[in-house]
Amino acid sequence: MRALGPGSVSSFLKIILDVAQVALSIGLGVVTTLGLAALIFHFDPKIVFQDADFSPADAASARRIIAGGLLIGALYIAGVLVIVGRLRRIFSTLTAGDPFHPDNVRRLRTIGVVLAVLEIIRYPIMLITVWLAPEVMSKSGFGMNLTTWFAVLVVFVLAEVFREGARLRREAELTI
């Protein structure tokens, strides 16, 4: 299978990244709008918690929980959007035939940091969710995601590999 050009793995990955970028951008817009709307406008929380029976005070707090959840969701999507954006830029250097561009080291480190931050902020959010809406948490489960931490490790190792690649590229450039 070819590395570059039409019908190659990279062209397939480029399509996935482009679709993900568009879908996440739309998702971010929709979720942010819904979150802000939930903060500003009054609505019946039963559209989310269908089985619950709310008193007026409970309904107000449920609306705040829904708005908070939506805005946290928007923050999460924004983080994933940053990752996809960096991946697309890394990919554009690959298609340009220069994958060991020094900027890719910074991009990979950014991806690693965003992955770690997204995982770290998940813990306080889960704790708050357990406190505010235990019935939601009992469905999704609580725990540390080792796969994410492993992914962070892989990305940082790759960043170091790319740093060495960038150094070799620079050395090759200055070998006459």
Partner: protein, 64 residues
């Protein structure tokens, strides 16, 4: 012999010849050295010299 003519004969670009002249090159291929010595009718020692100074760090990268 002009720089352009030398670059043509040795088979390197003028930009690379300039990198060699200014001492910014990290390494020189034996083939380039061979061609330069052939065209300039000299020995490698006439083209390169050692200047005492701090050791060059192999991990040193100007772009980092």
């Amino acid at each position: 012999m002009s720089l352009t003519e030398l670059a043509d004969r040795v088979g390197v670009t003028i930009a690379n010849l300039s990198i060699l002249k200014t001492g910014k090159a990290r390494a020189i291929r034996f083939s380039t050295l061979d061609a330069l010595c052939r065209e300039l009718d000299c020995q490698p020692g006439d083209l390169v010299e050692f200047e005492p100074g701090p050791p060059i760090d192999p991990g040193d990268d100007d772009e980092e």
